[in-house]
């Protein structure tokens, strides 16, 4: 697992997400962010340019 995110960097994430946290929530979620970061690292791996997401967009037909 990657290192714990700094308080400053975590505050920036909170601000970007538009959230307002109490100090206890801040501390609890900063720890939980490590779990999310570990999963993020699993999902992000080298892929070819042609790797398609599982979603498709279907335009309206006449």
């Amino acid at each position: 697992m990657s290192e714990a995110i700094s308080k400053e960097a975590f505050q920036a994430l909170i601000d970007r997400a538009g959230l307002t946290l109490t100090p206890p929530q801040f501390d609890e979620l900063r720890i939980a962010y490590g779990y999310l970061q570990a999963m993020r690292e699993r999902v992000r791996k080298p892929r070819g340019y042609d790797a398609e997401p599982a979603h498709i967009f279907k335009p309206a037909e006449r």
Binding site: A9, A12, D15, G18, T22, H55, I56, F57, K58
Partner: protein, 65 residues
């Protein structure tokens, strides 16, 4: 939220870039200011009240017919 909540701070462009593992020199940062403001406006425009039941336009197709 109470007054004890963490204050929202203005997020600088370099902090935003750092979040994605990106770095830029002072000139680039300056040139991005206008674009970032436009992006924020666009993001605000698309984030509006919607019914819980509204579907995204893309659909998952794991299986062929």
């Amino acid at each position: 939220m109470s007054a004890e909540s963490t204050p929202q701070s203005p997020i600088t462009i370099d902090m935003k870039l750092a979040e994605y593992g990106l770095k830029a020199g002072p000139e680039t940062l300056e040139s991005l200011k206008g674009a970032v403001a436009d992006l924020q406006t666009a993001a605000k425009n698309i984030c509006k009240p919607r019914s819980y039941l509204e579907e995204p336009v893309h659909a998952l197709r794991l299986w062929k017919k």
